[in-house]
Symmetry: none
Subunit: 275 residues, 2 copies
DNA sequence: CAAAATACGTAACATACGATACAGCGCTCC
DNA sequence: GGAGCGCTGTATCGTATGTTACGTATTTTG
């Protein structure tokens, strides 16, 4: 049974031509407010012409645009009445299994941050922001993208940020460049990779400060790490989730950026003038 | 300080003549929906004439009725976005501002999934799982790691999964391999990259089905996309957050895996025996 | 109690909005 | 490769909508 217009749209979006589908997508993306504006505004936002919008609402079964808007308003009214049931898409309890995934992920994040003290984060931020040395990042089979993501941001706001990619032999050679003043950020969750452990150990022996992102069972690298961030990874899926670690990474990126801004780093000012 | 129109009304309702006060009361009683309807409807509901409604909105300080309606819509938009913290001061330096970051991220995820129907996800999963064609993944400057992350997982549970890396010229050449049966997963958030848009357009012309991960303002690629996933990206940071998209990606990975298991794919059984 | 001022509604007006006809284009299917 | 169909945008039209002018009613004040 179809109760909301959003449902109606996702039900029929498959049968729509390209232009109308574009209209549908923009409406869903900014639901339902775009639909309450004029046809001209709606069409501009969707990048199509006015008639396409009208054909779109006609395909949904409405006689005209005002009737469509009234329906949206009625829906809004019902939603505003009971703020509790603000669910736009009633998750099907059977095969969907979407909502449990989301719930578990949200729980993981809350739990991860609950075990993460502000002081701990502040220490890491200070270490990353106050840089006279270099920053290296590396990750495991599934977590290396997180290392890349973090590197892509850090490399912009400060110099000497390197993501270690490729084969083991390649990054082992980079060990030569690493010393006491440098920081190595490692992502390693189950199943922990021997190559990373070996690499971390050697780096540690050279005096490199290691920041480890791992799961709650702690990679063996924790033994060598100066700072350990333990994220929750359990979700109802065949795979572990790195989402919590991802959010911690984003938090750190933001905090380091803010710190550098507060320090009035020349680089930041130069960056802004470049934009 | 007066932030909402409702406040503004209750602030000035004392100074209003009888008719306008009736208008104010009916608006408060059905806030804010009556105000989004036409002047005629509003006046009928309030039991006054149209000019009275117009004088009422004029007294609130609005130039005309549409301006008043826009203000109501903006207010609604802010309210619908996230019930919680949208008004945070991004000025607290150092590591202190962790919790707002987390809260915003959690809001983003809830909001992203709220705008994502099960059907939409199911369609994408079906498309990715029922594969006679190839799957290509690519991302923008900051989102390419998400493409990598997804590719790393998908490549295990099915053949013919390719992450497009390196320079533009390199992946442009791969277009030769792409056809109607193939799927291209693109990650593109602001600021949208021209190179990706061009690439998507060409792929689209070749009949490739595009699945787009973007932000709520929709990359221009949405024009060519078969499926669009619009994630919320706003956080109290100098950077946009890709965390919501990351979680959607993980959800899809999990769902595709489950689907293939349900289909009894030979590859999955072989994989399990390999472990 | 009278006169003035304010408030309100009726009716005419202009504009902006939604609706429609039509032509160009690309796509699919013979 | 050609014919047909379907989709989309441009331009035009009618109308519903917001707006304003004006006259009447109501309240206020001396």
């Amino acid at each position: 049974m179809i109760s909301s217009i959003a449902e109606l749209i996702s039900d029929r979006i498959g049968t729509m031509p390209a232009g109308e589908r574009r209209a549908a997508q923009t409406l869903i993306a900014n639901y339902p407010l775009i639909g309450l504006k004029t046809v001209a505004e709606f069409s501009a936002a969707a990048g199509v012409s006015s008639p396409t919008i009208l054909r779109f609402v006609a395909r949904l079964g409405f006689q005209n645009y005002p009737e469509f808007q009234s329906a949206l308003q009625d829906e809004l009214a019902a939603q505003l009445q009971s703020p509790a049931s603000r669910t736009l898409n009633p998750s099907s309890p059977g095969g969907g299994a979407v909502s449990p995934m989301l719930e578990a992920t949200l729980d993981n994040m809350r739990e991860t941050f609950r075990h993460l003290s502000d002081k701990q984060l502040a220490d890491i931020v200070a270490k990353l922001a106050d840089r006279r040395g270099k920053t290296f990042l590396i990750g495991g089979r599934f977590t290396d993208p997180l290392a890349r993501y973090m590197a892509a941001h850090l490399a912009i706001i400060q110099p000497n940020v390197f993501h270690l990619a490729g084969q083991e032999s390649i990054w082992r050679d980079r060990l030569i460049d690493m010393g006491k003043r440098d920081v190595l950020i490692i992502f390693d969750i189950r199943r922990y990779q021997d190559s990373l452990v070996r690499f971390a150990e050697t780096a540690h022996q050279r005096g490199v400060q290691i920041v480890l992102f791992t799961d709650q069972w702690l990679s063996p690298i924790a033994r060598f790490a100066r700072h350990v961030i333990a994220g929750r990874t359990a979700v109802p899926s065949a795979w572990d989730s790195s989402a919590a670690l991802f959010v911690v990474a984003e938090t750190l990126i933001g905090a380091v950026t803010r710190q550098l801004e507060a320090d009035g780093a020349k680089r930041i000012r130069e960056l802004e003038s470049l934009r």
